[in-house]
């Protein structure tokens, strides 16, 4: 499998004191939908702008569709489409005009595809940009991007203003593009969207890749929660290694376990004669909140775990 985007050790500074990207690694394979997650200000938009050649990398290696995004910007842009996070368009043009214009500047659009997308996103192309709501302006950018048949789509929080119905349309379109063998980098905060669409995700924190992998891989890095009833008292639970957040009431306990310690914990439990037990994998919310919440040293440690695997 070829890679659509290969970024390694990317550094981007804004002035001497602000390091926006700090040795970021990001790999997007061809034909995959890659989720790009991280708290506000983590560097997602900066990364995408470097990928577009709008900003120049200070250090590291960036490869986009086999080319250098800074040097070969124009040639590469014929093969990709971009939806910016903040859609700034010309207030006195109509939505239809903007779609045609951006498509033409990229190298031409498919008129029937354009009509189909306008229909599916329920967008009126005769309104002026300044008369559209935020969600409708976003739809203009989405229709403009999806009307072009290109190899790679860079989508920067493309659904932040869409209603649930349009969100579903967006997910359908992305699924179709994946089936058709297109590559997509999807920056997003909407976990259900990421889970429904993405093959792999990269979580970025403070300009670094905190974790990267499939959801299953990420889940394995995270604690399993356990609810258990035993015949003998569970008082010793809190002393076992790998156990966190334990709440014990005599023979009933709730706690979470580090992934590497699950087997040891089970051995201890067997000694106490398990009567009933429920384990559940971490939810995505837990997974992400942990990353969004942690301090920077925690993120660094998590990144170490990924590299060690």
């Amino acid at each position: 499998m070829r890679t659509a985007i290969a970024v390694s050790g990317l550094v981007k500074d804004f002035g001497p004191r602000t390091r926006a990207l700090d040795h970021l690694d990001l790999q997007v394979e061809t034909c995959e939908v890659h989720g790009f997650l991280g708290p506000n200000g983590a560097g997602k938009t900066t990364t995408i702008r470097v990928l577009l050649g709008l900003l120049r990398a200070d250090d590291g290696h960036v490869d986009l569709l086999g080319g250098d995004p800074w040097r070969d910007a124009v040639a590469l842009h014929r093969r990709l489409a971009y939806v910016p996070g903040e859609v700034n368009l010309w207030p006195n043009l109509t939505g239809g005009e903007v779609i045609d214009l951006l498509g033409e500047l990229r190298g031409g659009i498919d008129p029937s595809r354009r009509e189909e997308l306008l229909e599916r996103f329920q967008l009126d192309p005769t309104k002026k940009i300044r008369a559209y709501s935020k969600g409708n302006r976003q739809k203009v950018a989405l229709v403009a991007a999806f009307s072009s048949d290109v190899e790679l789509y860079l989508l920067d929080e493309p659904t932040s203003g869409l209603d649930p119905l349009m969100e579903a349309v967006f997910q359908d379109v992305v699924q179709e593009l994946r089936t058709a063998g297109r590559s997509i980098l999807l920056s997003s905060h909407i976990l259900s969207e990421v889970e429904a669409l993405c093959d792999r995700v990269t979580i970025i924190r403070a300009g670094r890749a905190a974790e990267s992998g499939t959801f299953d891989e990420l889940r394995h890095l995270t604690r399993t929660s356990v609810v258990v009833d035993t015949a003998k008292p569970l008082a010793s639970v809190t002393r076992w290694t790998g156990v966190h957040d334990a709440r014990v009431q005599d023979t009933h306990a709730q706690f979470s376990v580090d992934p590497g310690e699950l087997n040891h914990v089970l051995e201890h439990l067997v000694d106490l004669e398990v009567r009933s037990m429920v384990t559940s994998p971490p939810t995505l919310e837990e997974l992400f909140l942990r990353h969004y919440d942690e301090d920077i040293s925690g993120a660094g440690a998590a990144a170490e775990v990924v590299r060690a695997r």
Binding site: Y82, L89, W90, T94, L105, K128
Partner: protein, 541 residues
């Protein structure tokens, strides 16, 4: 008056936001007036005998009366004739920008919505904007007066002079209050107010040109059009001669009336909208739009139309006044002779008019090219450069539009002058040939300023707007309209591209200065292209 609740707080907000902008405008204008007054004071201290004939030149000459009025031979009056129009235009622009910034722009950017959701009355933003602009003009009046007094002019005259300029700002505070309600965009509101400023200048110029000169050639009684213009009201205060205060009342009355109209309009429209409903447009783009050049043309075609109408209007008026020039006598003929080096009065008049039009077109080119910066800062550049459009192609799209637009505008002006000037003088065909040549020869100088703006926008994007306008104002002042009479050294005057424009049609067009200007233009544009290719874009976060 619950509609004005929160006005005081919004005044403080506006003052905080403008704490550098307004002082920069006011101090810049004050320093300029102080410097030029001191210079004329020095010049005439050495040659006091020249003051009388110099004054008579600018009074007798209808072309010079375009710039304003002088009454009697005083250094203060003569200085004001040089400075007043520029300062009045700057005061008007300062006021228009301030009012639009705190009303229409706040609405366009959605700030008004956040404020309006608080305990803030419907008219509070408008009230605050008018109060802040008015306060700025009061300070301006005082400091301008002080600048002239400090450099040796009589106190009363100095104060009247400062007030006569600031009152133009006061009147345009009212104008901008209304245009901010009519147009639904910042650009529209500023454009309408700018058009009003143009009309106001034209009326004052027309009134003064058609006015009657007394027998001593020391006083002009203006014709009626001067009395229908705020710029004219300022001039009729006649500082350093009659020192009239009452025309100031006209400006204050205008501010009161226009503010009342603005308040009525605010009460009748929705927040974020203008007075005219939003129309629907085309579902598909025309093929003419589908290129960077086509897009830039579309974005500025309204402005181009406005400038076109304005220049045709000025051309028609100044062309019609050609006949007046042939009747000029006395000292004024010598001033024109400096343009041509011979006695061809009409040729010199046309040359000076054409240079004035050249400066106006340069201002258009600068407003257009500064959009390059706004595209970048406001983020509309991002979707374009995200497609297969290179940075250089984007610059080229603007350069092409600037060049074609400038050519069109200056030719429109020349054509309009021929329409009214040709028949009166009896040989329209040769006049057309002369004036088209004189028009086209302005373009290299305009292109130099345009290339300089391009370089500024790409090299120092954050400071490009201020630097560009400073550059235009300096180029105009060191140019042939004002430069020679300021008594500055030649090398300083040579810095202005306008200094090098051949005085066609009074003298034959020589190639060397034109080639020099084109070389400078190429150099600056190359610097811009290189910078644009190398740097990060300063996009919004």
């Amino acid at each position: 008056m619950s509609g004005f609740t929160g006005t005081t707080r919004l005044v403080r907000l506006a003052l905080r936001r403008d704490r550098f902008t307004l002082p920069a405008w006011i101090l810049g204008m004050t320093f300029f007036l102080a410097a030029t007054t001191a210079m004329f004071e020095n010049n005439y201290a050495e040659h006091p005998e020249l003051l009388m004939p110099d004054t008579q030149v600018v009074i007798e000459n209808p072309g010079m009366r375009v710039l304003g009025l002088v009454t009697g031979p005083t250094i203060g009056g003569y200085t004001l004739h040089r400075d007043a129009l520029t300062l009045a235009a700057l005061a008007a622009l300062m006021s228009v920008f301030a009012v639009v910034r705190h009303t229409r722009q706040a609405e366009e950017l959605g700030r008004e919505e956040m404020l309006g959701a608080g305990v803030v009355g419907r008219y509070a933003s408008l009230g605050a904007a008018v109060i802040v602009a008015l306060a700025a003009n009061v300070v301006l009046a005082g400091l301008l007066g002080l600048a002239m007094f400090a450099t040796g002019q009589p106190l009363t005259g100095s104060l009247v002079a400062g007030t006569s300029i600031a009152l133009v700002g006061v009147a345009f505070t009212g104008v901008a209050a209304v245009t901010s309600q009519l147009a639904s965009t910042t650009r529209g509101a500023t454009g309408l107010a700018g058009a009003a400023l143009g009309v106001s200048f034209l009326l004052a110029a027309l009134g003064n040109m058609l006015g009657a000169v007394d027998s001593a050639a020391l006083r002009v009684t203006s014709a009626w059009p001067a009395w229908s213009s705020p710029i004219g009201w300022g001039q009729q205060m006649r500082p350093f001669a009659d020192d009239l205060w009452w025309p100031a009342g006209l400006s204050l009355l205008a501010l009161g009336l226009l503010s009342w109209v603005a308040v009525v309009l605010v009460g009748r429209r929705d927040v974020g909208r203008g007075m005219w409903p939003e129309r629907r447009g085309a579902a598909h783009a025309r093929s003419s739009l589908l290129s960077p050049t086509g897009l830039v043309f579309r974005l500025q075609r309204g402005a181009l139309l406005g400038w076109g109408v304005g220049l045709v209007g000025f051309g028609l008026v100044f062309g019609a006044l050609s006949e007046q020039i042939t009747g000029t006598e006395g000292e004024a003929t010598e001033w024109y002779a400096t343009f041509g080096g011979d006695a061809d009065l009409l040729g010199a008049y046309w040359a000076s008019m054409m240079q004035m039009a050249g400066m106006a077109v340069a201002a258009y080119v600068v407003t257009l090219l500064l959009r390059l910066h706004h595209d970048e800062a406001q983020g509309t550049l991002e979707p374009v450069l995200g497609t297969a459009v290179s940075r250089v192609r984007w610059l080229a799209a603007y350069a092409v539009n600037a060049l074609v637009g400038a050519t069109l505008l200056i030719l429109l002006f020349a054509g309009a002058m021929v329409v009214t000037g040709g028949p009166a003088l009896g040989h329209p065909a040769s006049l057309l040939r002369d004036l088209v040549g004189a028009a086209l020869v302005q373009l290299p100088a305009i292109a130099v300023l345009g290339a300089a703006v391009l370089a500024l926008v790409t090299l120092w994007p954050r400071w490009s707007v201020g630097l560009s306008w400073a550059l235009v104002v300096s180029a105009i002042f060191l140019g042939p309209m004002f430069g020679p009479s300021l008594g500055l050294s030649t090398w300083l005057l040579d810095l202005s591209p306008f200094t090098h424009v051949p005085n066609a049609p009074a003298v034959a067009i020589s190639l060397a200065p034109v080639l020099g200007l084109l070389a400078a233009c190429a150099l600056l544009a190359s610097a811009g292209v290189v910078a644009m290719r190398r740097r990060n874009l300063a996009l919004p976060a």
